[in-house]
């Protein structure tokens, strides 16, 4: 996993709430056995509309997605995160997220930021945002906004650590558990 370094980038505003992972990446793209190349399927159905934000030249090159509440609800498909990252998104800001999607983001180095909508909108007036995980702040127009993230998750994202390798250091504990619960 690539460490998450401070990100300053243009924003892709997706003015929709309850966006499910079926919308982020529809089923026809799930038959792959790879992680790469899914960006072409990102928001595939909505992208057929020329007016959709992804098709507007002024948002080309955005690395931060700002969306409405409950973003990434529904299916567990990690392909949704892979598609966003393959497209170039490094950070998603929303008031709330689907649980599995939020976890999937953290496992891949895509930073999910929980921010109340008025805060996000105020910051957005700048068109660009600076997201700094170390200080847990989002800076746009107006004062810096603080966001919450679990310390363990933060550390892994900052250092780009391989979670499986970390867990395997606990092997004696896992073996002890297995011995007690055959």
């Amino acid at each position: 996993m690539t460490p998450f370094t401070p990100l300053e980038a243009a924003v892709l505003p997706l003015d929709r709430a309850h966006v499910d992972t079926d919308q982020i990446i529809p089923k026809q793209f799930l038959k792959t056995t790879e992680r790469a190349g899914l960006g072409r399927g990102l928001f595939f159905a909505w992208r057929q509309d020329p007016a959709f934000v992804l098709n507007q030249p002024r948002y080309a090159g955005a690395h931060i997605l700002v969306a409405g509440e409950n973003f990434g609800c529904g299916s567990s498909r990690e392909h949704a995160v892979w598609a966003l990252m393959d497209y170039g998104i490094r950070c998603v800001i929303a008031p709330s997220f689907g649980d599995i999607f939020y976890n999937n983001c953290c496992k891949n180095g895509l930073l999910p930021v929980r921010l109340a909508l008025p805060d996000a909108q105020r910051a957005l007036a700048a068109g660009r945002l600076r997201v700094d995980l170390a200080t847990q702040t989002v800076i746009g127009a107006g004062p810096a906004i603080h966001f919450e993230i679990a310390p363990a998750v933060k550390q892994r994202l900052l250092e780009g650590l391989d979670e499986i390798a970390l867990t395997l250091r606990r092997l004696p504990q896992i073996e002890a558990y297995e011995a007690m619960h055959p």
Binding site: E69, C73, E78, I100, E163, Y177
Partner: protein
């Protein structure tokens, strides 16, 4: 005396391998049963190969093929090359890593959440994970079961554990008894409509109350299955005599000698009297009517006697905007009576509603009737075992004589990864769990209902109050 504990806390505590490093942080939990399928596992196996890691407990891992598989009569040739290669990859991975696979030629094959319970693998008190959000189904047995992403699948492969932050608890108490003609599906659809599709985010739901105690195991699975549609991490129902009766004699359940001791431990799992939940909500099952979703989220639901709402009366701006978009997508005008909505397709299937009782309920409506002209209706049993049992009872003939297609097990039109899909603009009465835009096929319009309601819609060509047909 010990502090009273919820069922969730009992199962959670028993599975802690390592405590959190910081207060409130994630704990390392042991996974008793890991279920896998072809769509969310290949990248995880690739991860093991790339790092040279072993799959720690193949004996606690079980695979099936369900999402991509065609539902044509077997044997068949899989025409979609991508689906074929994904299925072949699963077979190869299972062979290389020593995982038991219920493949297309297996008499045990079926939808992952249908077969693990029917084989007796799903047991009370277990932790069960699968790269599939409807893993919550297994909570019907008092297991803690939840969906995970592919990175977590790889983590479980390598360590048999997962780091998890402790979720909140929400108890939904259902008072009263389900009225005739309403089912577990109506109960859960109504509950999602009430608490919202993010009403249980970050929480484990315990379903409780007299209406839940009366449900059969298959009905409990329908309820727990859709926990994720309320945003929940998992749904659980306390084990009781119904649970024990279901499990006794199943191939992977404890054998006759061990069963008594296991059963006694399982019955201890129920939440203690006075255990504290973070939230409790009471719902009246006796007031339930058959439900039909009208929008593109499972919470957009109305009783069959009701009408499509007017988004202008919805106060929450996010929900109002979503409702407006949904009605445009569904091509429905505010105020349309549910009973006036005509359908083109009917799908009876999925891990929500493709067990034997579901098919029996639908067949009871279909018997002696015919599928309305212009409607294409299909039944896809949840597993080979369900198919065999249904055929032994002659249900296949009842459906086929009425004009339904009787197909082979798989996820099928629940998510349309196989050739069973809606055409753009087609409207479907479906017993599955998601009515998201394009879920059953690009441009397709899905209305979620119970199997009996789907059967009635098939025969009348529009949504019909099944209570009038009893």
């Amino acid at each position: 005396m010990n502090q009273p504990r919820t069922m969730f806390e009992k199962v959670w505590q028993r599975h802690i391998v390592a405590a959190a490093d910081d207060p409130g942080g994630p704990e390392l939990l042991y996974v008793d049963l890991h279920l896998i399928h072809e769509v969310t596992s290949p990248q995880a196996f690739a991860g093991l190969r790339a790092t040279g890691r072993k799959l720690r407990r193949p004996d606690r891992t079980f695979a099936t093929m369900d999402h991509d598989v065609p539902t044509d009569p077997r044997p068949f040739k899989i025409l979609d090359p991508e689906a074929a290669s994904q299925l072949a990859a699963l077979a190869e991975n299972c062979r290389d890593f020593g995982v038991r696979l219920a493949g297309l030629d297996s008499p045990e094959q079926g939808i992952v959440h249908v077969i693990a319970p029917e084989l007796g693998m799903t047991q009370p008190g277990m932790t069960i994970v699968c790269g599939d959000s409807h893993t919550s189904t297994h909570g019907a047995f008092g297991a803690l079961a939840f969906g995970i992403g592919t990175s977590e699948v790889e983590h479980v492969f390598a360590t048999q554990c997962l780091w998890q932050a402790r979720p909140q608890t929400l108890r939904l108490n259902f008072t009263g008894a389900l009225p005739a003609g309403t089912t577990a599906k109506d109960l859960i659809l109504h509950a999602i409509g009430r608490i919202g599709t993010n009403g249980a985010t970050g929480s484990v739901i315990e379903y409780a109350g007299p209406a839940i105690r009366e449900l059969t195991m298959e009905e409990r699975m329908t309820v727990c299955n859709m926990s994720i549609e309320a945003g929940a991490k998992a749904g659980m129902i306390a084990p009781d005599a119904t649970t024990l009766a279901y499990l006794r004699g199943r191939p992977h359940a404890p054998g006759a000698e061990a069963f008594g001791a296991a059963a006694a431990a399982w019955l201890e799992l129920a939440s203690d009297e006075g255990a504290a939940f973070d939230r409790e909500v009471e719902l009246d099952a006796a007031a339930l009517e058959p439900q039909v979703t009208w929008g593109t989220s499972p919470g957009m639901v109305a009783p069959v006697t009701g009408a499509v709402p007017d988004p202008r009366v919805i106060t929450d701006p996010g929900l109002r905007q979503a409702a407006e978009r949904a009605l445009a997508y569904m091509a429905l005008a505010p105020g349309t009576r549910i009973g006036d909505i005509a359908i083109d397709r009917v799908f009876i299937g999925s891990c929500t509603n493709a067990r034997l009782e579901d098919l029996e309920r639908a067949a009871a409506i279909v018997r002696g009737r015919r599928v309305a002209s212009g409607v294409r209706a299909m039944v896809v049993p949840g597993s080979q075992a369900v198919r065999r049992a249904a055929e032994a009872r002659g249900l296949d003939r009842i459906f086929q004589e009425a004009g339904f297609e009787w197909r082979q097990p798989g996820c099928s039109m629940c998510l349309g990864m196989n050739p069973d899909i809606l055409q753009p603009g087609e409207r479907c009465a479906s017993t599955s769990n998601r009515n998201f835009e394009g879920r059953q096929g690009a441009g397709g319009r899905t209305h979620l209902v119970s199997p009996a309601m789907a059967a009635a819609a098939a025969c009348s060509g529009r949504f019909t109050d099944v209570r009038e047909w009893l």
